[in-house]
């Protein structure tokens, strides 16, 4: 592909001005808050910071966040690949509807997503009777948090794969079939290697969202310390109790995750671009 560099026509003064405006804006909305999180977290020294993130409620919040992510990532990975395979490679009635449904969690406010589960599994809810009859806890317990996380994060893998698979078309799969490979083999040997970077990209976004989700999880969690608190919920509780150092220390974990995610995302994007070339 030939990339042409556009000719620069603006004067030096205008260029410097524009760059400065962009830089100032960037530091105000991104860099300053980022630095604040770490400096406040570390304000009373590394020991206090360490104590704040290893204290038992904090540990349980970290553990719960990791659990929710560890369940929702594989679930939505399988769902996302299956859905994008169906949408990109086949024509069927209801395809438009399925695509709209996949986007639903992105368009609905997370709080509403949480409320959906309260309405479904609450005592007066649709499945309330079944839930109490089976004597399982969904709301204000881990299953509710996992369900809400899965719901909120399910578009990510499908969204990153559908355009990729649509561009690639069916040619290579058809070639695989004519060469004697069955559907399963074609999927593992031909489709999957072609979309692997797209899959990884989707998983990174999905994981980041799963760990950082606040709204939906907040509605279904019940905020029981040491039991149903995830990292974002724990941060809120600490902050409301004026434990700023602890709150910022916990926040720094999520921030670190975000930074790692960004780096991984950039790397994957770069690899995808290289593969396409």
């Amino acid at each position: 592909m030939i990339a042409s560099t556009p000719k620069v026509t603006e004067s030096l003064f205008v260029r410097i001005l524009l760059i400065l405006v962009a830089l100032i804006f960037l530091s105000l909305v991104l860099i300053v808050p980022l630095v604040t999180i770490f400096s406040t977290g570390l304000a009373k020294g590394i020991q206090v910071y360490w104590a704040a993130i290893t204290e038992s409620d904090a540990r349980s919040a970290i553990y719960l966040t990791l659990t929710a992510a560890a369940i929702s990532v594989p679930c939505n990975l399988v769902f996302g690949i299956a859905a994008s395979w169906a949408i990109a490679k086949f024509d069927f009635t209801g395809k438009k509807l399925l695509m709209t449904l996949i986007d639903l969690p992105l368009t609905v406010s997370p709080v509403i997503s949480g409320l959906i589960f309260v309405l479904l599994f609450g005592a007066q809810g649709l499945f309330g009777g079944v839930v109490s009859w089976l004597d399982i806890k969904i709301l204000f317990a881990v299953p509710g948090i996992v369900l809400a996380t899965i719901f909120v994060t399910f578009p990510y893998v499908a969204r990153s794969l559908i355009p990729l698979m649509q561009v690639q078309g069916n040619d290579q799969e058809e070639a695989g079939l004519t060469l004697g490979a069955g559907g399963w083999r074609t999927f593992w040997h031909i489709t999957l290697p072609n979309i692997k970077w797209g899959v990884l990209y989707g998983v990174i976004l999905l994981n980041a969202r799963a760990m950082g989700e606040f709204g939906a999880v907040s509605v279904v969690s019940g905020h029981i310390r040491g039991m149903t608190n995830t990292i974002p919920l724990h941060v809120e509780i600490l902050y409301n109790e004026y434990q700023f150092v602890a709150a910022f220390a916990m926040a720094s974990i999520l921030t670190l995750l975000a930074v790692v995610t960004l780096i991984a995302k950039t790397y994957v994007k770069w690899r995808t671009g290289e593969e396409q070339a």
Binding site: D171, L177, L179, G180
Partner: protein, 346 residues
């Protein structure tokens, strides 16, 4: 291996892509489905491959009914227009893929792949990726890959469509030579008549989901069965007229139309090289003025305005044109040596 197709039908959302198509391909034969884009020729090929399921009809490969056999069990080699090489695999792995899924060991399949890459003239490129090859090389890899599982027949879907004219001609000759050597029953789909004529033992002209004519290339050209075949294969002049006592009149010309009903409209088609152009008045010649002369290499194309105002395209060898001094504005006398008369389509 032979192919037999009977009453094949394929519809897409009400659109009749293939409409009652029947034909046969004999063992070792090279047959071409020739037609414009959207004529349904690719769909016929994809039905035979099993990439599309026929709505009704019968497909037999080597006497065995395969109409409902899945594609991976049909033992066919398929070459796609855009190569469809596996991007993430090396050339060697691409070609070895077929033997691999059929259970060949590593050494066996790599030997087979090397042998085929040698056959298509790409030895030494085993470890390259498809993106490092030119279009012509990629299509040769695709052919080697299709041949690797030792298919019963080879299906080619516009295999040279994405290549430039010179390379197309080169690969055409190469493919014909390869076919002579390995004698694998082959079915080619193309919209390029030169390709069809040069490669095939037999040509099936396809239009609107039906086979218009099935014949040897020479016969398709000389004796088109329908007006569509006559106009699709090669350039044509066409005029219309009423059938009167078994003839159609146009100027001083009389075309035989004994196969048509009295008083119906007829369509007369004749090729530019079936127009004889004389510089002197002879019996029956229709005078006209040369309006333009176009040099085409070995021959010259003339646009002649006849007395009734219509334009006639004639093709004459360059030597004749030079000798007779054909140039713009010159008065010439035209004769039509061969024409095909069909009922006019309403």
């Amino acid at each position: 291996m032979s192919i037999r197709v009977e009453h094949l039908e394929k519809r897409f959302n009400g659109f009749h892509a293939v409409n009652d198509v029947s034909f046969r391909v004999a063992d070792g034969e090279f047959v071409t489905l020739l037609g414009p884009s959207g004529s349904g020729k690719s769909t016929i090929l994809r039905c035979i491959a099993g990439l599309e399921e026929a709505n009704s009809g019968l497909i037999e490969i080597n006497g065995q009914n395969v109409t409902y056999v899945p594609v991976q069990e049909r033992k066919i080699g398929f070459v796609f227009q855009h190569y469809a090489l596996f991007r993430h695999m090396s050339i060697l792995d691409n070609v070895a893929f077929g033997p691999r899924v059929r259970g060949a060991g590593k050494k066996e399949r790599h030997d087979k792949a090397r042998e085929l890459l040698n056959l298509v003239g790409l030895s030494g490129m085993e470890h390259r990726k498809p993106s490092q090859l030119s279009g012509g090389q990629r299509q040769r890899v695709a052919l080697a890959r299709a041949l690797a599982p030792e298919p019963q027949l080879l299906l080619l879907d516009e295999p040279f469509g994405a290549l430039d004219a010179r390379l197309r001609k080169e690969l055409r000759a190469w493919l014909r030579e390869l076919h002579n050597r390995i004698k694998l029953t082959s079915l080619l789909v193309t919209h390029d008549q030169d390709e069809a004529f040069e490669l095939s033992d037999r040509v099936l002209v396809v239009n609107e989901g039906k086979i218009e004519q099935e014949a040897h290339p020479q016969e398709i050209f000389d004796k088109p069965a329908t007006a569509f075949v006559a106009s699709f294969v090669g350039e044509t002049n066409h005029v219309e007229g009423m059938v009167d006592e078994g003839t159609v009149a146009w100027g001083p010309f009389r075309f035989k139309a004994i196969h048509l009903k009295q008083g119906t409209r007829a369509r007369v088609l004749f090729r530019p090289n079936d127009v004889y152009v004389a510089s002197k008045r002879e019996d029956g010649g229709w005078p006209g003025t040369i309006q333009s002369v176009q040099f085409l290499g070995a021959s010259v194309s003339l646009a002649i305005r006849l007395e009734d105002g219509s334009i006639l395209n004639a093709m004459v060898p360059k030597g004749v044109a030079d000798q007779s001094g054909f140039e713009q504005g010159k008065t010439v006398y035209t004769h039509i040596t061969q024409a095909h008369v069909f009922p006019a389509t309403v």
